[in-house]
């Protein structure tokens, strides 16, 4: 072993394909790759494909809801599209695109040559791709795709009320996505624990890596429960068991507990890495160190732990025990505190800096302003009496989109713009990037702000048409949705054109100050094979 090839004595070296087995073509190179950078890029591409699909579904829904009593979509088709929009956006866009960014960036940031299990990494990706298509395939089956919302509450998702194979494909697709998630989580956890460069202690790790690792722990603890619940649902459908079947002694509310035990932490799986991106993007563009590093790490840990103690707030109207209602209500309020710590710390990071308004920074600042709104409505929803009033109405739709669109998506785009030069070796077009940001920011508020209002006035979610008194807000929302659509088109064109004709990017196109320069900016753009000519030593 030469000096500089080992991370540290006795640490496992990543198992790479021997150099002799060079693939014959570019295509095979991508298909057979075990390189974390290529896998990360493939994750991103795949997620954006499903993002586009989910976006088209969203626009179809908004078209149907442009006025009361329209017949753009049949009620059954509307329910399918609504369910797939939710499922794709959560399981095939937000989670994988962040996994992709994590895959690309985390090994670079900790000074590793690759993930701990490169082939498992590839397997994670190749599990996810068919999973999405499996779900989509339901569209062409007898009875159409799954139509139970992304939550698929039984008995509606039982065989009796969803007889077609669409629901089975949905379950199997989610199973595969869950497996992919779990394998990926194991991989990340082992990587970060074992492959850090010499001198890279835990408290020297960049905040993005911290957020990703804690997220992977959440996945590790939560996803198996979802897998179990899905298996129970599948056996209920296929083999006549009665876990959720009241006539035979089962209980539909059990599904809600099991499902939300994973799916509430899933919200944090979706938002923590995005918060990590924000923690990574704000400091260099404000020319300051991240404020309160340790506080940030602790807040992230706190969110990770408390995130498992709030699932009941999705079930305040289902008739759960009064004591449970109080516990979950209080916990849901408490989780606002670590989230608040993060917001204040970001504000303190920006405060007193000298801010350069490049596109990633715009997205970072947009994240803070919009995510705060989602957090505030979250506190309201934690109050049971208010939640009973607006549960399952458009208010909740608005709240979740402020958290996931105003939060996760803003973070994702901040990350995509921030690392695009690193990944592709080319710069994107700054002006069109800013146009994309403003269209997204304005379109997002136009779309989701009115939803708070109709929700408070009692318009339920997941309905294919609505009563006349909700017309005005819905029309504003539809206009907003198309503004968002235009923005996303501009984004796609900008990125595709930049991949081909963009200016060549330097190693560090953002001119990081020395104290903000994480390791990925010390290597070429795109980074060389195996990332580092010589493993860096951190002092």
């Amino acid at each position: 072993m030469e000096a500089g090839t080992l991370t540290r004595p006795g640490a496992p070296t990543p198992a790479h394909a021997p150099a002799a087995a060079k693939p014959k073509s570019v295509l095979l190179d991508w298909l057979l790759t075990t390189d974390h950078k290529k896998i990360g890029v493939m994750y991103v591409w795949m997620s954006f494909f499903f993002f586009a699909l989910g976006g088209i579904f969203a626009l179809l829904m908004r078209t149907q809801l442009a006025a009361p009593g329209l017949h753009v979509l049949r009620p059954d088709v509307y329910n399918q599209i609504m369910s797939l929009h939710g499922t794709f956006m959560i399981f095939f866009w937000t989670i994988p695109v962040l996994a992709g960014l994590g895959n690309y960036v985390v090994p670079l940031q900790i000074g590793a040559r690759d993930m701990a299990f490169p082939r498992v990494n590839a397997f994670s990706f190749w599990l996810l791709l068919p999973a999405g298509f499996l779900m989509l395939a339901g569209m062409w089956m007898q009875g159409g795709a799954a139509a139970g919302g992304w939550t698929s509450y039984p008995p509606l998702s039982d065989r009796q009320y969803s007889p077609g194979p669409g629901m089975d494909l949905w379950i199997l697709g989610l199973h595969l996505a869950g497996m992919s998630s779990i394998l990926g989580a194991i991989n990340f956890v082992v990587t970060v624990h074992n492959l850090r460069a010499p001198g890279m202690s835990f408290l020297k790790m960049p905040l993005f890596t911290w957020n990703v690792v804690i997220t992977q722990y959440i996945i590790l603890f939560g996803t198996p429960v979802l897998a179990g619940a899905l298996t129970m649902l599948l056996t209920d459908r296929m083999f006549g068991t009665a876990f959720f079947h009241p006539a035979a002694g089962g209980d539909p509310v059990l599904w809600q507990h099991l499902f939300w035990f994973y799916s509430h932490p899933a919200v944090y799986i979706m938002v923590l890495p995005a918060m990590g991106v924000i923690s990574q993007v704000l400091p260099p563009f404000a020319s300051k160190r991240p404020f309160g590093y340790k506080g940030m790490v602790l807040a992230t840990l706190g969110i990770g732990v408390i995130g498992f103690l709030v699932w009941g707030h999705h079930m305040f109207a289902s008739g759960i025990d009064p004591t449970l209602r109080r516990f979950f209500s209080f916990m849901s309020m408490v989780i606002a505190v670590p989230t608040g710590i993060k917001i204040w710390s970001w504000l303190a990071t920006v405060w007193g800096g000298s801010i350069r308004f490049r596109t990633p920074m715009l997205y970072g600042l947009g994240f803070i302003s919009l995510f705060t709104i989602g957090g505030i409505t979250g506190v309201w929803l934690a109050l049971v009496p208010f939640d009973v009033q607006v549960h399952d109405t458009y208010f909740v739709v608005a709240h979740l989109h402020y958290v996931l669109f105003g939060g996760s998506l803003m973070g994702i785009f901040a990350g995509v713009y921030y690392w695009f030069p690193k990944m592709s070796g080319r710069m994107y077009h700054e002006v069109w990037g800013k146009v994309h940001f403003w269209l997204t920011f304005i379109g997002m508020n136009l779309t989701f702000m009115p939803m708070h209002l109709v929700g408070m006035r009692g318009m339920p979610r997941r309905i294919y048409t609505y009563q006349a008194q909700y017309t005005l807000e819905n029309q504003i929302a539809t206009v907003g949705a198309f503004v968002l659509g235009v923005g996303m088109l501009i984004f796609m064109i900008n990125m595709l054109a930049s991949l081909r004709w963009g200016k060549k990017a330097s190693d560090d196109p953002w001119d990081h100050a020395e104290f903000n320069k994480t390791l990925e900016w010390t290597v070429s753009s795109p980074p060389p094979n195996e990332n580092f000519h010589k493993i860096p030593v951190i002092r």
Partner: protein, 236 residues
């Protein structure tokens, strides 16, 4: 001139968002509450609104000021602070206290709405795909697909269940929402102050025509209710 454009656009954007939130919530809550529970819920909401708005406006103002004041200028060096334990303790403690403060009235209201008082009338509400069935136990009155009729000024207890999938009985002006689960019975109550016709609809996705599962409640004077009930019994 680029910076000026930035500043104006940001200020405009945030002010627009703020204005919409404030005006909108005020407007949205003009929905007339007609039960004591609905009144309580709205009071609690305004309390929570006040407490959280303080933090919200504070955060957005700091953000706006930072954006305007600390944009990169030649010759101005950025600050170097990146730690302040006192400040961090403050912004952990104050929100925590605010949450504890809010949980008190919240739990009181919760106690009020989930304790079904001694009722003057019990109705059974049964969800079907995609209509509601109402029963008046003790009177032998059962019907479906028609408005629920109840007397004003009387405490009505509702027992909810479902025959097929999960439904949720929701009338916004009553401040009442309760899931109707198959194989379980849930309880809620309402006391409507004044006669009138109130609308609502199913709030839990229950299949293809979930959006058409409307609810109408006719609230009539107690005398009129007695007459109606006698009529119904004759018809039964």
């Amino acid at each position: 001139m680029k910076t000026l454009r930035h500043r104006l656009a940001w200020v405009l954007g945030i002010l627009l968002a703020l204005g919409t939130v404030l005006a909108g919530t005020a407007h949205a809550w003009l929905t007339n509450p007609v039960t004591p529970v609905a009144h309580e819920v709205r009071e609690l909401f305004w309390l929570a609104f006040g407490v959280t708005m303080f933090f919200f406006v504070l955060a957005e103002m700091i953000l706006l000021i930072a954006i305007i004041k600390f944009r990169a200028r030649p010759g101005v060096a950025p600050a170097t602070f990146h730690d302040n334990v006192k400040l961090e303790i403050v912004w952990t403690a104050i929100p925590t206290l605010a949450m504890v403060f809010l949980s008190g009235p919240s739990f009181q209201t919760l106690q009020y709405l989930e304790t079904v008082p001694k009722s003057d009338l019990t109705v059974e509400i049964i969800g079907h795909q995609w209509f509601w069935e109402y029963r008046y136990p003790g009177h032998g009155v059962v019907f479906a697909n028609e408005p629920l009729v109840i007397p004003s000024g009387k405490i009505v207890a509702a027992d909810l269940t479902s025959i097929d999938v999960v439904h949720s009985w929701f009338v916004p002006e009553f401040g009442v929402k309760m899931d109707a689960n198959p194989g379980r019975v849930n309880h809620t109550w309402f006391e409507v102050e004044r006669p009138g016709t109130y609308g609502g609809q199913c709030a839990e996705l229950c299949g293809v025509l979930h959006g058409d599962m409307l609810i109408t409640v006719n609230v009539v004077s107690p005398e009129e209710f007695e007459r109606w009930l006698a009529e119904k019994k004759k018809g039964a």
